[in-house]
Amino acid sequence: MSGPKKMRVDLALIAAMVAPGSRVLDIGCSEGTLIEHLFREKKCDARGLEIDMQTVTRAIGHGVPVMQGDADADLAAYPDGAFDYVILSRTLQAVEKPREVLAQMLRISTHAIVSFPNFGHWTLRLQLLLTGRMPMTANWSRMWYETPNIHPCTIRDFFALCDKDGYIVEEWLAADEEGARTPWRRSRALANLFGEQALFLLRKA
């Protein structure tokens, strides 16, 4: 493994939710920065799942345990309760069956940590209202016909799904693009309007 690297702020927020020494699966782990951090700083047994083969090669080359695969197809292979935390960061909106993926996450793990870009942010709402076309922002930067983000949702949508499927939200927060926590994080409605990123810590009821 290489030396310590500066981590994205949202990854630091996620890392803060993970208890030391736990078993962790990071889905969409990219080059494994979070995995390495969790191993070094929290003595976690952390592994990754990543869809892009070149990225996997780089991660393994850095000594990080990563398996090529994707959330839609590969979670089914793991046994119940194999992990303490399964992390899905900025990927939920891009999977084929988000509800299935969430269910699998909370089958194979006690906790699920999910982050996603909030489609309820006011700039998106305003763009849709004023232009009548699909919004384009830094987060949502590709045209509707080529975006990998096929299942956008808002913070309130996500709360609704958790209610429906019986997941307990142990912790949640909204953050701006840099990942800094925002002051109105205790109000769902305000967070849904002003939060660019949402981060949830879930467990099964």
Partner: protein, 380 residues
Amino acid sequence: MDQSTAQSETQHQSVTFSQGLALDCGRHLREVTVAYRTYGTLNAAKSNAILVCHPLTCDQYVAETNPETGRPGWWERAVGPGKPVDTDKYFVICANVLGGCMGSTGPRSPHEDDPLRPWGTDFPPVTIHDMVRAQKLLVEHLGIARLFAVVGGSMGGMQTLSWATQFPAMVFAAVPVAAAYYHSAQNIAFHEIGRQAIAADPFFYGGRYWAEGVTPERGLAVARMTAHITYVSEVALTRKFGRKLQDAAELSSLGDRFEVESYLQYQGSSFVRRFDANSYLTITRAMDLFDLAADYGGVLANAFKGTKTRFLLVSFSSDWLFPTAQSRAIARALNHVAANVSFVEVQSDKGHDAFLLEEPDFHRSLGGFLAGCAEHAGLK
């Protein structure tokens, strides 16, 4: 116990175990010799040993000039000073497989009931698991209680899987490369063509060619040629030869020969000089018999239950002999038991042989994985 035995012209470093070896077939070899080479230095804690398992027609000379062929070691791209399997850092062991013909007990070794003649076709059938049990004798003889890693490609990958399932506590990390957990009908079919070619050679004499002072060269060469085609991809063959002709710019007579033909014939003829036909029959059969899932009630995941070994599986995109689906199935089985597994398919158009060739992505993955494991194992 250590000695050098004269089998052909070459002396091979080896060790003979007088307790012998119980085989899967139920027979017991009264004595078993394991020929091997080591590279690098075993540390004081004996914790830095890597066992490299060789594929079908390779041998223990993994990282040095082969004394029989005069050619470079078969995996010098991956094993050596500063290489992914770094002999400056790790103590590397490679043993000729049981059933082989480079100094380990095999069909060419003296028959245990009649040492004046070789075993020949009387040599009992061996399995991949038997090969691994013979290697275990060697590892223990070297005073090593736990291997830091077992690494192997193709049939070596099968041995790696056998190690990780038979003796999981002895394997900290396992790297099956271009491997399979069972030999498919297609794999067996190609091997059978080779075996039939050998059997059909008039110089085979039902396996007693050694008594006649001849070798079934034609048959063995055809076996090698057939196998060689399965080791390369269509793209690689096309790139190397296309429809180019030997000694001619364009097809002028129907007697002209294509370059790929003479290449294959060269592959065949160079092989017969170094390989024993009965060994080839024994080892190909051992591969055919390999089915790790069947050994565990038909469920591959059961083979890995409770494993603490860290795995890296590597496949190559154009490998149609041991395709990516095989490696992925192994990775999924390891997921089933929540094992620590890394898996990558290296993009390559070189076919099964890619694991022996210059593949920077593979070498980076292998080196990085071992370095990461070294940290987890507390190796400095």
